[in-house]
């Protein structure tokens, strides 16, 4: 330290510079927040792919290896996009799905609560919770119920070309009639007047429906322009053969060189363990869900979709189980025919079995996969996890939620390792 910098004026100047640097950093982070998550995703993907590129480099030049990976990613994205596009139901199919969903919901709710024909009296469970549950059911029904225009469209779209198709159409029309009856009963029970117009004569839902697409292209454009940075960062980082790390280290003073090397090694190890661990855990959980719900009776195609969704959601703590439960139950409620390997499974008990299968998968994850695969890679307090995930979601949306734990892992590793090594090198 020079004599000038140790004077009160020097200290004040240092404090001012530090404060200004902190303010500029905060301003930049806030101003560029829309780019932070895509950039982070690009960096994380490159980090995950680095070992693969290094392995490929044994046989082919690095540029070819990076090119191959880019082609692979583009192909996967294309296939994924096409699959999603193919899975999006047509307008008629969507109406049919809503009718079936509402019918299944009403049927199961009525059976569970043992409701009478007027939908106002039920068993003890109903008496206990109907004040809280009924408004929720009403809201869900409002979302699923068809408007008169949609109803007309639904009726007109019924195909009667063959007997089998005609029978199915009749069944769906019966469902729609039952739905309309249930909605009326509910409206009568609660004395609400807003539910009826939607089904009978109103078009309350049409106004917001038209306003949404108007904003959609702009929002999508903003998201795409921000996310374009991810595929740009990804190859550049993969192309790098250590220049970035060397550049960072060359800026470090000599006395901090070895501590910085040690800290970087620790952070690299912590992040590597986390990424490898969470990837294996997600794969294991997804596969378990696929196997278990297939045994219970979910068709393999849907089981794979639910398994992939569950595995992907498991990146966010506590979300894997929720995703499996919601998607599995949704399928169980909508399913009309059940072909299970287990003789005990009937259409009435199907949902219970799906919940049991998902719970077993979660139990296996907690008792087996997490200790073995993830081990002590992420030792975070549950409260830190919850606050981190909520904070990430608030600041950066769903992607922030996804990246909260890797970020916390890096920061935790950085702080702990820095403190340890600075002490060991007598710098703190």
């Amino acid at each position: 330290m020079t004599a000038a910098s140790s004077t009160p004026a020097g200290v004040v100047m240092k404090c001012l510079v530090a404060t200004a640097a902190a303010a500029i950093s905060v301003y930049l982070v806030w101003g560029l927040r829309s780019f932070i998550v895509p950039a982070f995703v690009g960096c994380l993907l490159a980090y995950i792919c680095r070992p693969l590129v290094a392995r490929l480099e044994r046989w082919i030049p690095r540029s070819v290896a990076v090119g191959l990976l880019l082609v692979l990613f583009a192909s996967v994205a294309l296939v994924g996009f096409n699959s999603v596009r193919a899975a999006i139901p047509s307008e008629a199919a969507l109406l049919e799905l809503r009718v079936r969903a509402l019918y299944a919901l009403n049927r199961h709710y009525r059976a569970l609560m043992e409701l009478d024909a007027s939908w106002s009296r039920g068993n003890r469970l109903y008496q206990l919770i109907h004040r809280d549950l009924d408004p929720l059911m009403d809201r869900v029904s409002d979302v699923l119920a068809l408007t008169p225009d949609e109803h007309a469209q639904f009726v007109a779209s019924r195909d009667r070309s063959t007997d089998a198709v005609s029978a199915r159409s009749d069944r769906l029309l019966d469902y729609e009639r039952a739905n309309a009856y249930a909605t009326e009963m509910r409206a009568g029970r609660t004395g609400r007047s807003d539910a009826a117009p939607k089904t009978i004569g109103g078009s309350a839902s049409s106004a917001p429906a038209t306003s949404v697409p108007k904003n959609e292209p702009t929002g999508l454009g903003n998201v795409l322009s921000a996310w374009i940075i991810a595929p740009l960062i990804f190859p550049f980082l993969l192309w790098d053969t250590g220049n970035i790390k060397r550049g960072v280290l060359s800026a470090v003073p000599n006395r901090l060189f070895e501590p910085t090397l040690a800290v970087l090694a620790d952070v690299d190890e912590a992040l590597g363990n986390y990424v490898r661990g969470i990837f294996l855990e997600c794969c294991a959980l997804g596969l378990t869900v696929i196997v278990l719900i297939s045994i219970v009776g979910v068709p393999l195609r849907w089981a794979i979709a639910i398994g992939i969704f569950t595995g992907a959601s498991n990146v966010v703590p506590y979300m894997g189980f929720a995703a499996a439960l919601v998607s599995g139950l949704t399928y169980a409620l909508l399913a009309e025919d059940v072909h299970s390997m287990l003789p005990l499974v009937t259409p009435d008990t199907f949902a219970v079995w799906v919940v049991a299968a998902v719970s077993l998968a979660e139990l296996l994850k907690n008792a087996l996969y997490e200790p073995i695969v993830l081990g002590g890679a992420v030792k975070l307090h549950p409260l830190v996890v919850v606050i981190g995930v909520l904070g990430g979601a608030t600041l950066f949306g769903p992607a922030g939620m996804l990246l909260a734990i890797p970020t916390i892992t890096i920061v935790k590793g950085l702080v702990a390792s820095s403190a340890r090594h600075l002490r060991a090198y007598g710098l703190m």
Binding site: A54, T241, F257, L261, L264, A265
Partner: protein, 204 residues
């Protein structure tokens, strides 16, 4: 220069006449044995980094492509006169190779005075153990004598080589094991030589 593991050769090699050589500086004899640059270490100086690395005994077995790979991961550091490169009592995190200039290996003696143990010139290396195991506490310090340029190789860099280029890493580790074995052998020989000299002095 070729190292001969004979008693006479070792005496010439390890115990050059020094102005302050005394009986209290026995540790220095051991230390010099450890830091003596292996065969051919003090010869020509290379132009570019890969060419220079070819001169380093650790990388002698590597081909042109492998040398280029190593050159991509080493860190170049510049030190000014008197600046400490590594300090006694601190953990080691990198292996260092002298590229330009001279460094001095010292050990804290009585009264916190630095006792000089050895001088290293290009392309000598030191702190090899830190490249295979971090956290080993150093028993010596190294400081620059005049402006010095060094190459550093961290443990993570060596781990990366082991993971991604196992054949290359194997060659380096075999050389590393060879160097450490040779230094251990030299240390034992130096110790035996010292003991025999002490006995001869006692008899006289």
């Amino acid at each position: 220069m070729t190292t001969k593991l004979t008693l006479t050769g070792l005496k010439q090699l390890l115990l050059p006449p020094r102005p302050n050589t005394g009986s209290a500086d026995i540790a220095a004899i051991r230390a010099r044995a450890l830091f003596q640059a292996p065969e051919g270490a003090m010869t020509k100086r290379g132009g570019n980094l890969a060419e220079f690395l070819r001169l380093v005994s650790l990388f002698e077995d590597l081909g042109r492509r492998d040398l280029a790979r190593v050159a991509r991961i080493v860190h170049e550091r510049e030190y000014s006169d008197g600046e400490y490169i590594c300090e006694e009592g601190r953990p080691g995190a990198a292996l260092f190779i002298v590229r330009r200039g001279v460094v001095e290996v010292v050990r804290r003696g009585a009264g916190a005075q630095d006792v000089p143990l050895a001088l290293l010139e290009p392309p000598a290396s030191f702190e090899e153990s830190a490249a295979i195991e971090t956290g080993v506490i150093r028993w010596f310090s190294v400081r620059a004598r005049g402006p010095v340029s060094l190459l550093a190789l961290g443990k993570t860099d060596v781990d990366g080589l082991i993971l991604n280029y196992p054949v290359l890493a194997n060659k380096v580790l075999v050389r590393l094991a060879g160097i450490m074995t040779m230094r251990l052998q030299m240390l034992i020989d130096a110790e035996l030589h010292r003991e025999s000299e002490e006995r001869a002095e006692d008899k006289a």
